[in-house]
């Protein structure tokens, strides 16, 4: 009897633990939903800060980026496909920056799943990544994003009223700068 009682007592605790534990895996964010609430540090580098349209220091949330669409790439310096795709993602960044119609509308950021600041810096340097990359050393953001495999791309539309929706998600299979951008522009209604 006592055995049963102790076991029963444990159940609510277990449920509570699984729901609130920061270690419990979350679901993968899907199209039409909002992003998991995560804070990123405002970049110290003035160019990156300017690119994202942020000011001051402290932290920010992705929908605060000054853009109509933000493309988030979850990557890892340890991931061969992320390495292989890096030059193509850079090409997409350049394509956006070179187009006066898109330049201030579409912004890119990368989040290094399980990567320390040093590891992110190695990736950034190796591939001369021109857009801001953020470390996620303890997989906290990666967990919030449902532990997706890398590279994982998320397109987020930011509305005039400050709300946002996910308009595109994609695991790997980066189809090249132009076709990917096409998909994003269509999904965002910018085309």
């Amino acid at each position: 009897m006592r055995k049963l009682l102790i076991s029963l007592l444990a159940i609510p605790f277990l449920l509570f633990a699984s729901a609130s534990s920061p270690f419990a895996a979350n679901k993968v964010p899907e199209k039409g939903e909002v992003l998991p609430t995560i804070n990123l540090p405002i970049p110290k580098n003035p160019d990156e800060k300017g690119y994202l349209g942020l000011s001051g220091d402290g932290s920010f949330r992705i929908p605060k980026i000054k853009a109509k669409v933000v493309i988030v790439e979850l990557f890892s310096m340890y991931c061969p496909f992320c390495q292989k795709d890096a030059p193509k993602i850079n090409e997409m960044y350049q394509m956006i920056q070179d187009n006066p119609d898109l330049k201030n509308k579409i912004k890119l950021i990368g989040i290094g799943a399980g990567n320390s600041p040093y590891e992110v810096s190695v990736f950034k340097k190796t591939y001369s990544v021109p857009f801001p990359l953020f470390p996620d050393k303890d997989f906290i953001i990666h967990k919030a994003y449902g532990e997706v495999r890398t590279p994982y791309f998320i397109g987020v539309k930011i509305n005039e009223d400050g709300t946002h929706q996910i308009i595109h998600t994609q695991l790997g299979d980066f189809q090249g700068a132009e076709p990917f951008l096409e998909v994003i522009l269509k999904a965002a209604g910018l085309k």
Partner: protein, 201 residues
């Protein structure tokens, strides 16, 4: 009664651990697709080191995936050597460790060091597995037969026959200068290894 209570406590802790010690999503590169064998969370370390910092590193000669035979002593007087033992091909953390070193060649070069990757897998397995990583700049060595002999010499062979996730930094004179027998479930941060290499200068 007391014993029973204790048993219950363990049961509850055991169940709870499923929630708290959930292995992180390593092996998270899509490059390996569904080919990664999930191991769950393993005992962090399951061997006893037989060498220590300051010791002469035990010499060995192993076959590399490229076909050549590589010995530790061939680098003596020429380069520092980093030995990276990883437990097994096609497992989560290991599959996500060497590809990172693969883009850090300049860091090894700056420190006049060579990296030797070692597992207890046989050559064909290592060939297929490392092919998924792209072209690796460092030799990958098979410590398959006699099984895990080199891992055993260093004291990093686990009781189930795979090696630990361990890093050894050996200077040009052949002396061990840094050892990190890492929690097998986690990837060692690159900066710790780089700091160890920079201390050799």
């Amino acid at each position: 009664m007391q014993k029973k209570k204790l048993a219950h406590l363990f049961l509850i802790l055991g169940v709870l651990s499923v929630f708290f010690l959930n292995p992180m999503a390593y092996g998270l590169s899509d490059a390996f697709k569904e080919n990664i064998y999930q191991m769950g969370t393993l005992k962090p370390i399951d061997s006893v080191l037989k060498v220590k910092v300051g010791d002469r590193a035990p010499d060995f000669a192993l076959s590399a995936v490229s076909g050549e035979k590589v010995s530790l002593s061939q680098y003596r007087g020429k380069k520092s050597v980093v030995l990276s033992f990883v437990p097994a091909a096609w497992t989560p953390v290991c599959s996500d460790q060497w590809p990172g070193y693969n883009i850090a060649k300049d860091i090894f070069d700056e420190n006049n060091a060579i990296l030797l990757g070692i597992t207890v897998d046989n050559l064909p397995t290592l060939f297929a597995w490392t092919n998924q990583m792209g072209k690796l700049w460092f030799p990958v060595l098979s410590d398959f037969w006699p099984h895990g002999a080199v891992a055993k010499k260093y004291g990093v062979l686990r009781s189930n026959g795979v090696s630990e996730r361990a890093l050894f930094v050996i200077d040009k004179k052949g002396t061990i200068r840094y050892i990190d027998v890492h929690d097998i479930n986690k990837r060692p941060p690159l900066e710790d290894l780089v700091n160890a290499l920079e201390k050799l200068k």
